[in-house]
């Protein structure tokens, strides 16, 4: 592969945008309206990165993913994935990337998992020996053994997702594009998949781009997050930076020995009271606030809650929504 000093560019998007033309209204009086799903995205992803692509529903995440994989043709901008223009050379690109849609399977619904993977092998033209070796390794890592012979439609969601990941990785893709890979999974399955992805990234240098609403995924996996809102890029940087951009205060949870009215302490603001338990938003050093509370009340227990990324992203959305009016014509309810 390439030298480690200058990691090669895997995704390069400049001014990427996609418009949709909607026709609405009754026949003969239809009006056409252009809506931009994605606009002016500049994104460079280098080899070996794990990038989380976040945003609320309808923000343009899936449209971006579809442009990156060649399903949708961009309306504006310049896009190269692994040096290829996706919509022009979709088939060539498809052989070099792996794609997982969390909401729908890439496996064949009525075929046993093993047959599905065998078909995948032929489609991606993986030599039989390579396939057997890789399948054995992935079977071990993702514990596929017990359900390799089961038809895909009978697999549980977690099993199916592991099967989908296997299918996406059997041909050794340079780039893995995951659209909500942990949606609907339980804690154990999520963890298996996250650890597996980290390993694929560390050992093979597979570049990973994932969309998710699960911020546990982001915290565990992503070195870098890109937040998109209403089709435009709202943030691109690391997780700590995102937290700093939109400061969400830490919260001190205090259990007093007896119920008390809301505390008024310097450097903190009481946001919630539930019997003896109170939630204080910290504006100051926690130690100082704890000292001030302890001076007036007897404390039974206390914990400090770190702001979770969910709150950070939510307030970023709110900020973006309040900050600037959307340039796209807002649809009038009909």
């Amino acid at each position: 592969m390439t030298s480690t000093h200058t990691p090669e560019t895997v995704i390069e998007a400049v001014g990427l945008g996609r418009d949709f033309v909607l026709s609405e209204g009754p026949l003969f009086r239809r009006r056409r309206r252009t809506v931009s799903a994605v606009r002016d995205i500049d994104l460079t992803v280098r080899s070996g990165e794990i990038v989380g692509y976040l945003g609320p529903n309808g923000a343009g995440k899936s449209s971006t993913m579809k442009m990156l994989t060649g399903i949708l043709t961009p309306t504006t901008g310049h896009l190269r994935v692994l040096g290829v223009e996706p919509s022009r050379e979709r088939t060539r690109l498809a052989a070099r990337i792996g794609v997982v849609f969390g909401q729908r399977t890439t496996l064949w619904w009525d075929l046993p998992l093993r047959d599905s993977l065998e078909l995948t092998r032929h489609m991606y033209r993986v030599p039989a020996a390579d396939h057997a070796r890789r399948l054995a390794e992935l079977t071990e890592l993702l514990e596929l053994g017990p359900f390799l012979g089961t038809p895909v439609r009978q697999l549980s969601l977690g099993q199916r997702m592991r099967g989908d990941l296997t299918a996406a990785l059997l041909h050794g893709p340079r780039l893995l594009v995951l659209d909500e890979p942990t949606i609907g999974l339980d804690v154990v399955s999520k963890s298996t998949i996250r650890e597996f992805l980290l390993r694929a990234n560390a050992e093979e240098g597979t570049t990973i781009l994932l969309t998710t609403h699960d911020l546990g995924d982001v915290e565990r996996l992503c070195h870098r997050v890109v937040v998109i809102d209403k089709g435009s890029m709202a943030y691109d940087g690391d997780l700590a930076g995102l937290r700093a951009t939109v400061p969400v205060p830490r919260v001190l949870v205090v259990d007093l020995t007896a119920p008390a009215p809301a505390l008024h302490v310097e450097g903190a603001r009481c946001v919630r009271v539930e019997g003896p338990r109170q939630w204080l938003e910290l504006a100051d050093n926690p130690t100082a606030v704890i000292g001030r509370v302890a001076a007036e009340h007897e404390i039974a227990d206390l914990t400090v809650q770190e702001p979770d990324i969910e709150g950070v992203v939510a307030s970023l959305y709110r900020g973006a929504a309040a900050g600037e009016p959307s340039p796209s014509p807002s649809p009038s309810p009909s």
Partner: protein, 289 residues
């Protein structure tokens, strides 16, 4: 486990092999997918058998209707019973073969709605091949076989002057007819790229067209004959080949040289259908998810 994720080696095709590869690979993938689906559906042999029988009965009933009409009328527009059965059998054979090879393409709208077309688009194989082999139904052989048998019997009973030219040209006519029928299937289904519920409209040409071609075209009005010759080239599936085999002048008054046009019409129809498919795919907008 340092080599856990070692990539499979590159597999460059030799340069001289590429043109061959470009032709042979889609066929290989088609056969592989069709075989896998047939095997999967054959896991329920009773169901497969009943479905195949049902399909056969349907096909036989259609030809039986033709049989009854000719028995009752004696001859239709100068075509005897055996000749009538040859027209019906040949049209049915070509349509049934095209339907078996290509018919699944009418599920395009369904694939667009459910998003499974997106999944096909991210695989390094033509989405068309993936669609037409999706749930590949071997039971459709249940229409091909009876149609083939009836055609064979009718050929035997017709008074055909078998020249060397006819023996050589017959396979060309058969392949062209199947290709034209397949192109009509594809073009009709491509409408679903533009109008999602166009399936029924397309069926009026595909299944409707098949019903139309089961009788000598000369019984229809001049307008119909012109339309199915020059607009939707159904006349080249069944009708024109039979005129050629029987050495009949065209009773509708169209030039006799048309019967040799089948291969050209087939190429034209397939090109048009392929262009429509490309246009549709380029305009494809995917569904939200």
């Amino acid at each position: 486990m340092a080599d856990t994720f070692a990539r499979p080696g590159p597999r460059p095709a030799p340069r001289w092999g590429r043109p061959v590869e470009r032709l042979s690979r889609p066929i290989r993938v088609y056969l592989l997918l069709a075989w896998t689906w047939s095997r999967a559906l054959a896991q329920y042999p009773a169901s497969l058998l009943l479905m195949t029988l049902g399909t056969s009965l349907g096909a036989i009933a259609e030809v039986f209707a033709v049989f009854v009409v000719f028995r009752h009328a004696g001859a239709l527009d100068g075509f005897s019973l055996a000749e009538g059965l040859l027209i019906a059998g040949l049209a049915s054979l070509m349509f049934a073969t095209a339907d078996m090879l290509m018919g699944m393409v009418e599920g395009l709208g369904q694939h667009i709605r459910t998003g499974s077309l997106d999944v096909m688009l991210v695989r390094p194989v033509s989405p068309l091949i993936q669609i037409i082999t999706d749930r590949f139904a071997l039971r459709r052989l249940g229409r091909v076989i009876p149609a083939g048998v009836i055609t064979g019997i009718a050929l035997h009973h017709c008074d055909i002057d078998w020249t060397l030219g006819k023996i050589l040209f017959l396979p060309v006519l058969l392949v062209s007819g199947v290709a034209i029928a397949a192109a009509i299937w594809l073009a009709g289904s491509c409408l679903q790229f533009f109008v999602i519920d166009a399936r029924e409209a397309a069926n009026s040409v595909t299944y409707g067209g098949q019903a139309l071609t089961e009788y000598p075209l000369s019984i229809y009005g001049k307008g119909v004959v012109t339309a199915v010759t020059f607009a939707v080239p159904l006349a080249f599936v069944g009708w024109q080949p039979v005129l050629y085999l029987l050495d009949r002048p065209d009773p509708t008054g169209l030039p006799e040289s048309l019967r040799f046009a089948s291969p050209f019409v087939a190429v034209l129809a397939c090109t048009a259908a392929a262009l429509l498919w490309r246009l549709g795919l380029r305009r494809y907008r995917s569904t939200g998810s």
